[in-house]
């Protein structure tokens, strides 16, 4: 077996097992950490495909930022396993239906003739100077600049909407404004008064 094949199976096995544990782990924090492991191994597989930019971005964005905030939320939860399992049977039919639908669709796409080696031959080997990052950047900012900007706009709208939905202004709150505190000068707080010494006579 070639070394690369060995690495692929190594990463793939860990990834599939970790993905399984995501849905079977009882503790949500464990599940989130297994999801991190899954992302990490997916990044490794992408590295094998010489897509280093995508692989590193996956680790940076999902492992480094998204999952940290996810864990942040999950860790604050009051984990009550009985309450979590309460709705299991009532949700099962819907979940099973969605799962079966996804399975059928995946079989239809992957099992069809579109994904065969004849329809999609392996790309020619890249030159030594080929840089995945540079190529992706060039394409993203020239050929696909409008879709790219549109996507960023959609994200911006989502961000503003999330803030607007959760923003609540309550009256009578005593905020601390760090910027005002930082801007305080000595003259505003302390006044030195000159006065004569008092004497008893």
């Amino acid at each position: 077996m070639e070394f690369k094949t060995f690495v692929f199976y190594f990463l793939a096995v860990i990834m599939v097992l970790a993905a399984l544990r995501v849905i079977t782990a009882r503790n949500p924090v464990h599940a989130a950490l297994f999801l991190v492991l899954t992302f990490f191994n997916a990044g490794g597989i992408w590295l094998l495909l010489q897509a280093e930019f995508l692989a590193i971005t996956l680790v940076m964005v999902y492992v480094g930022a998204v999952m940290v905030l996810f864990l942040f939320v999950v860790m604050m939860l009051d984990i009550n396993l009985d309450r979590l399992r309460e709705g299991f049977w009532s949700y099962l039919p819907v979940g099973a239906l969605v799962g079966i639908l996804m399975l059928v669709e995946m079989v239809m796409v992957l099992g069809g003739s579109y994904f065969g080696l004849e329809a999609m031959p392996a790309p020619p080997a890249a030159a030594d100077t080929y840089s995945n990052t540079r190529e992706l950047g060039r394409v993203l900012y020239t050929d696909y600049v409008y879709p790219f900007e549109l996507a960023s706009l959609v994200l911006l709208v989502a961000m503003v909407a999330a803030v607007a939905l959760t923003l609540r202004k309550r009256k009578g709150l005593k905020y601390i404004q760090p910027s005002e505190q930082v801007a305080v000068k000595r003259e505003g707080r302390v006044e030195l008064v000159k006065m004569q010494a008092e004497k008893e006579d």
Partner: protein, 349 residues
């Protein structure tokens, strides 16, 4: 070198690349660990001198064996796992803390060509790996099943994610002007320009055109490694020792090692990205690793100096500094640099 090693290579056969890489890894990690040990001594000595004390001076001449004594003490201490803790994650926490801080060294160049993995996307790799450092802290804090560690880890998560943003923008400016993600190329790109030709390399390094980014990067680096004055994560007045409250012996030592290895990493990266790496500041002196070591030592001194000088920041002030000061500054300077590059006044063509 290659020819000399050929007999050894034949001995190992197909496993030789793996063995040779392992040897190189040990050659990086072992000196790094010694540096970490002596950085703790240097810290105590420097802060001692700044406070007109002597610092450790009992173990060995001038206290030079103090780090070894500390290490041996920590090795022999008992590791106590709290009964309410999540045992697996409790042990995993320190490992997750130290693994990324060692893995990041794979792409750090020490001299021209002297690097473990000379990858194209070195800077991206560093960003990705350093963004994983926070996991050790949050996993440790949660698994301890105790109030103060949890509060400390929540602080760490928020602080490290915030300062990563400004650090990332500072790095974007660097890669813009050197038009490469490879750390060796970034150093070599600081070697040309009018001043470098005149033999004054120190003026052609990135720290002058990117001065605001340089300042932001160093300060964010201090915040990212949770060092004073940004050490609210382990601020003893508020949360005892943060995520490390329940840890003892070697598990505690791993957090300690990770923190100091990260300090050295941030310092060496600052030297590489902004201070010309191994390049000599003046033309008549040869380039070499000693310059990189000197620059790194200087940035490390800044870390210790800041710790001895400033009182601890309040938490909301830290957040304000990160989001409301650093990110606008980096965004503005990113804009300035892009306009500068496209204008006829560009010095990078």
């Amino acid at each position: 070198m290659e020819a000399m090693l050929q007999p050894v290579a034949d001995l190992f056969g197909a496993a030789w690349p793996a063995v040779w890489t392992l040897v190189k890894i040990v050659a990086i990690i072992a000196p790094l660990m010694i540096c970490v040990a002596y950085l703790t001594l240097a810290e105590r000595k420097v802060i001692g001198f700044m406070q007109v004390r002597i610092g450790p001076n009992r173990v060995g001449p001038w206290g030079l064996l103090q780090p070894i004594a500390d290490g041996v003490k920590l090795l022999f201490k008992e590791i106590i796992v709290p009964s309410g803790a999540n045992k697996g994650l409790f042990i995993l926490g320190p490992i997750l803390a130290i693994a990324p801080s060692l893995a990041a060294w794979a792409v750090v160049p020490f001299d021209d060509g002297l690097v473990l993995a000379d990858v194209n996307a070195g800077l991206l790799f560093l960003l990705a790996i350093t963004s994983m450092e926070v996991y050790g802290v949050i996993v440790a804090g949660w698994a301890s099943n105790s109030k103060y560690p949890f509060l400390g880890s929540m602080r760490a998560a928020a602080q490290m994610v915030s300062y990563e943003v400004s650090m990332g923008f500072a790095l974007i400016c660097v890669l813009l002007i050197s038009s490469s993600l490879n750390l060796t190329d970034i150093v070599m790109s600081q070697n040309d320009g009018r001043f470098a030709d005149m033999g004054l390399g120190v003026l052609s390094w990135n720290w002058i055109p990117l001065f605001p980014m340089f300042v932001v990067y160093v300060i964010s680096g201090i915040a990212e490694t949770n060092r004073a004055p940004f050490d609210v994560v382990e601020g003893e007045a508020e949360v005892v020792a943060g995520h490390m409250v329940e840890y003892s012996g070697m598990t505690f030592a791993l957090f300690f090692l990770a923190e100091y290895a990260n300090m050295i990493l941030v310092s060496i990266l600052t030297s590489i990205l902004f201070l010309g790496g191994w390049l000599s500041p003046v033309g008549f002196l040869p380039d070499g690793f000693h310059w990189l070591a000197l620059k790194t030592a200087f940035i490390l001194l800044l870390f210790l100096w800041a710790r001895a000088t400033f009182p601890r920041f309040r938490y909301d002030h830290i957040m304000r500094l990160g989001w409301k000061v650093f990110i606008p500054v980096t965004l503005v300077w990113l804009f300035v640099v892009t306009v500068w590059m496209m204008s006829p006044l560009s010095i990078w063509s």
